[in-house]
């Protein structure tokens, strides 16, 4: 075989970044004497247009079987030189880039040793390139549409961005209304905006706007199965019956008036009731009630009540016979935005949650203070008194190795918001904040932060260890917070209400959905990222993106930004009409050598490996495979080979370095 070697000086003459240290004249002899080397050609700036043109011309004239370019890092210019080879009619995978700049010229002081090492590297590259095989990138057709799972701030923003770009979007939401957590809130930090109003424009666009891409909204639905890969997913969507037609119903609420069955309303801490047919939340969109099978006597007792149907002014709105359905959809990309939940505070026994109705969580308080909450927005204790003193306990269970080890990022600001709301709704209430370390980053948080501690009725107490603060309930139902300061007896403060800032936790949602989508979660239970810093909205599986609090605790701004980012990823990976180029440097299984031991399956970070149930042979899906080589190393049978990184090529390379 004839190998053509090009040496890039990375600069002019002997002053280049490479030739300043490695004199090509000193390398030439050794390289030319290698058995398969046909020629050794020196170029000034190989990557510049002129350099590329020179190499192209030279390649076209000499037509080597293999090409070695001794220049810089493949990270920088492998693609450049692959293109040059392709233009010269040489398969780009028959070129090996040897890095004599970063690996030699930049790091070796002594020019003689630099020359020796450069020769070693070029010898290794030459030995390797002889084993390289021509590879062709495959091109696949793609479906440009997307699936968004979860209709909170993150999912809504993703859906809107995708639809604005003209993409068909299927928006799957488990609940009966859109908006996620914030539609249940009154006001939001950092600027005390009205939460439902913030979402209003987004919801308006999605429900009634003129976005170029159609949005297929599936409420009371979840994704139960998925097959395929980037550009070609087949998803199964299961929808449970709402019994009220979203299309027909006009939201007049007459059915609610007439419904004879009331049940406690958990959303309002069971302090109010709701009807068996009722709005999930007053003001929630779409403005259509839900008939709750767990409450309606037609379903609980088999009654023949038709009160709602009888009074309904719209034919076809009440659908007693609606049943659960499962439908299939084809999509090209998936954005997962299923949000998070809060930690079960009853686990932190010292804080008393669940033992007294006036020990409430930050989530409960959102409802207690909401205009559509149990008291119409007035702050009252469970027995209807105006509280004189409220304790706000930060880090209730967070930064605590026994409960939630991390900081959940949003609680301090939620506490400032709550303090602000308490002050405006019940002026004069004494607010004692038990803080541990205050987290209020960014340019906007400072106002609420000041406000929370500077007011005339505000007191801040610092505690250091999770166990330093305890909530006590006495026999008469009195509440007090005991604070161990480290000096003498704990300080005890009598209060009327205790507000516990509950950390955000992933809850079972991500793990359950991870099982369906085959994407990983991490030790905290949140979805794992492709790269937690540089690619936090990509899952390790190509074509599946993650956004919002299912990735990590964050505020609404973060969630909406991530929704947009995830949509951006989906748009750039799935350009309509474009095909998907699949890098051929993937892994392949030799079926006759595979024994189906399944060692490879769990190690693949891209879920690209399947074992056929009948033949018990593994196979690698080359679209999902990113060519990382983990399975190649793990395969104990030598049945998996990495294209472009075969054992033969790598052994030849290593041996060429070792046997000078």
């Amino acid at each position: 075989m004839r190998v053509g070697v090009y040496f890039c000086r990375c600069g002019p003459g002997l002053d280049g970044q490479v030739s300043g240290k490695i004199d090509p004249g000193a390398v030439r002899g050794a390289v030319e004497s290698l058995p398969d080397v046909a020629y050794f050609e020196v170029v000034d700036f190989a990557c510049a247009d002129g350099g590329q043109a020179r190499i192209l011309e030279h390649l076209a004239a000499h037509r080597p079987d293999r090409v070695v370019i001794a220049a810089c890092s493949p990270r920088q210019h492998e693609d450049t030189f692959r293109r040059v080879c392709a233009q010269a009619g040489i398969n780009p995978y028959l070129m090996q880039l040897v890095n004599i700049r970063e690996h030699v010229a930049w790091v070796i002081e002594d020019p003689e040793r630099a020359v020796d090492k450069a020769i070693d590297q070029i010898r290794a590259g030459t030995a390797r390139v002889l084993h390289q095989e021509p590879l062709e990138a495959a091109e696949l057709d793609i479906c440009p549409d997307a699936l968004v799972i979860g209709a909170g701030p993150a999912g809504l923003k993703a859906a809107m961005t995708l639809a604005a770009a003209g993409r068909g979007v299927t928006l799957v939401e488990r609940g009966p209304i859109l908006g996620g957590l914030p539609v249940r809130f009154e006001e939001i930090f950092p600027t005390m905006e009205c939460a439902p109003c913030l979402l209003e424009p987004v919801l308006g666009e999605i429900l009634h706007g003129e976005l170029p891409g159609p949005i297929d909204i599936r409420l009371t639905s979840t994704v139960t199965a998925i097959k395929g890969f980037l550009g070609n997913f087949d998803v199964t969507i299961a929808t449970s019956p709402r019994h009220i037609s979203v299309d027909a119903c006009v939201g007049c609420g007459m059915c609610i008036e007439e419904c004879p069955t009331s049940v406690p309303n958990a959303l309002n801490l069971n302090r109010t009731t709701r009807k068996a047919v009722d709005f999930e939340l007053f003001g929630g969109l779409p403005n259509v009630p839900v008939l709750d099978e767990a409450a309606c006597t037609r379903f609980t007792e088999g009654s023949d009540c038709t009160a709602c149907l009888d009074c309904c002014p719209v034919p076809g709105a009440v659908l007693f016979d609606e049943v659960a359905t499962a439908t299939e959809k084809k999509v090209g990309a998936i954005v997962v935005a299923i949000g998070a939940t809060i930690y079960d505070l009853s686990q932190v026994t010292r804080l008393g949650y669940g033992r007294h109705p006036d020990i409430v969580s930050s989530w409960d308080v959102e409802r207690l203070l909401a205009a559509n909450g149990p008291t119409g927005g007035e702050l009252l204790t469970a027995d209807g008194r105006k509280p004189r003193t409220i304790a706000i306990v930060h880090c209730a269970g967070s930064l605590d190795a026994d409960h939630v080890p991390y900081c959940s990022a949003i609680c301090c600001q939620t506490a400032f918001k709550d303090a602000h709301l308490v002050e405006s709704k019940a002026p004069g209430t004494q607010i004692v904040s038990f803080t541990r370390t205050v987290v209020a980053p960014g340019k906007e948080a400072v106002d609420l932060y000041r406000h929370a501690f500077d007011g005339p009725h505000a007191v801040e107490r610092r505690y250091h260890h999770p166990g330093d603060v305890e909530v006590r309930v006495d026999a008469a139902g009195g509440l007090a917070v005991s604070h161990a300061t480290g000096a003498g007896e704990p300080e005890v403060t009598e209060v009327d209400m205790v507000l516990l800032l509950a950390p955000m936790v992933a809850g079972p949602g991500p793990r359950e959905l991870a099982g369906v989508l085959d994407v990983p979660t991490d030790a905290t239970g949140f979805f794992a990222e492709h790269n937690a810093r540089s690619d936090a909205t990509r899952s390790p599986v190509r074509g599946i993106f993650i956004a919002g609090t299912c990735q990590s605790p964050m505020d609404i701004q973060g969630a909406m930004t991530q929704g947009t980012a995830a949509a951006g990823h989906a748009l750039s990976e799935l350009v309509a009409g474009r095909t998907l180029r699949v890098d051929p440097a993937t892994a392949t299984v030799a079926p006759d050598r595979c024994s189906g031991c399944r060692t490879c399956v769990p190690v693949c970070p891209y879920q690209a490996i399947d074992v056929d149930g009948w033949t018990l042979k593994a196979s690698v899906n080359s679209v999902l495979c990113a060519g990382c080589g983990t399975c190649v190393a793990a395969c104990p049978s030598g049945a998996i080979a990495g294209h472009h990184f075969t054992d033969d090529a790598m052994h030849a390379e290593i041996e060429a370095v070792l046997h000078a």
């Binding site: 080890p405 991490d522 030790a523 905290t524 030799a590 006759d592 050598r593 595979c594 024994s595 189906g596 031991c597 399944r598 060692t599 399956v601 769990p602 190690v603 983990t630 190393a633 793990a634 395969c635 104990p636 049978s637 030598g638 049945a639 080979a641 054992d647 052994h651």
Partner: protein, 340 residues
């Protein structure tokens, strides 16, 4: 009567098990005898080295050479039989990969002599006598073959045409090869492995297997394994998945883990390395995520501490044939021979 092709079977550093495997052909030995002129087999026949030396070069059709190359005598016989044979087959794990004798490569030959003859706790050797190549006694000179520095597979010292792996090779596999030769079936290209599968022992193992997530390794006496489930998944280090098939998965079928005697599967050069890297991929890291680094290291170490002898576990039959090959003499320039 046309002359029959000549067959020889030789043992170098070996235990005799390969000869037993040949003898286990039972009445088929008669077929072998009918097809071949069995000219040399120190275990079964009386022919001597001089008789082989007297034969014309290339006059033996097939030699089944078992045993590793441990001594100068082994080396000499390997060269002699190579010269005399048209087809030289590395027969059994020792000839193929070094086998059990190959485990001695974790130390040097000089160390072995010291340990065995000078340092053993049960020794009574006040004069520090160790075996020598030549010892002069009243009656004359006694000669012993010298130890080589390290144990090698046959292919490291002479050109080998084919390999039949196994410790010992299964008799039905030996018969399959012999039968093919008798019937004149064209042999695969030289260098190929005969009498074995291309895949691994798992391919022949009836146990069910799932995704492997191991939280603890267990030695065989520590567990009464579920007879239907993959042993490795139960924490028993079964190296079947890095071992060439062909034996019929005999050991796993009787609750014993595969110990690797059929050597690396097709395309693998380092059986132990493959097994180690596979095992590393199987350790269940889920419970380790988020732990402090020192704790992770401690827990992983605790898992692997259950393996008392890495070489014996992962390279039981193939250390000399692996990329590790052998320990290098600690004292440069001192060979076993000099010490003798």
């Amino acid at each position: 009567m046309a002359t029959k092709p000549k067959l020889s079977v030789y043992w170098a550093a070996s235990c005799g098990g390969c000869e037993i495997a040949v003898a286990n052909l039972h009445e088929r030995l008669l077929d072998v005898e009918a097809a071949f002129d069995f000219v040399f087999c120190p275990c079964l026949l009386d022919t001597k080295k001089q008789d082989v030396e007297a034969m014309a070069d290339g006059s033996i059709a097939v030699t089944l050479f078992n045993g590793a190359i441990r001594t100068e005598e082994n080396l000499e016989m390997a060269r002699l039989l190579r010269r005399k044979s048209q087809v030289l087959i590395a027969f059994g794990a020792c000839a193929a990969q070094g086998g059990i004798p190959g485990l001695s490569n974790v130390s040097t030959a000089a160390d072995h002599l010291r340990t065995i003859y000078l340092q053993g706790p049960t020794l009574d050797n006040p004069e520090g006598t160790i075996p020598r190549r030549q010892t002069v006694v009243d009656e004359g000179v006694l000669a012993l073959p010298g130890l080589l520095d390290q144990v090698s597979p046959l292919a490291d010292v002479v050109e080998v045409d084919y390999t039949i792996p196994g410790c010992p090779p299964e008799s039905h596999q030996i018969w399959a090869v012999v039968d093919a030769v008798i019937r004149g079936v064209a042999l695969p290209p030289p260098g190929s492995v005969l009498g074995a599968g291309a895949s691994t022992v798992c391919d022949e193992c009836p146990r069910t297997r799932g995704d492997k997530r191991i939280d603890q390794l267990r030695r065989t006496w520590e567990i009464d394994p579920d007879p239907d489930r993959c042993l490795l998944e139960q924490g028993v280090v079964c190296v079947g998945l890095a071992t060439r098939g062909g034996c019929g998965a005999l050991c796993p079928q009787v609750q014993a883990p595969c110990i690797g005697c059929y050597g690396p599967p097709e395309g693998v050069t380092d059986q132990g390395g493959k097994m180690v890297s596979a095992l590393g991929s199987m350790i269940d890291i889920e419970p380790l995520k988020g732990l402090p680094e020192a704790e992770i290291v401690a827990r992983i170490d605790a898992i692997f501490d259950a393996i008392p002898d890495y070489a014996g576990c992962f390279y039981k039959f193939g250390l000399p044939g692996s990329s590790l090959k052998a320990a290098v003499a600690a004292r440069v320039g001192v060979s076993a021979q000099d010490d003798q």
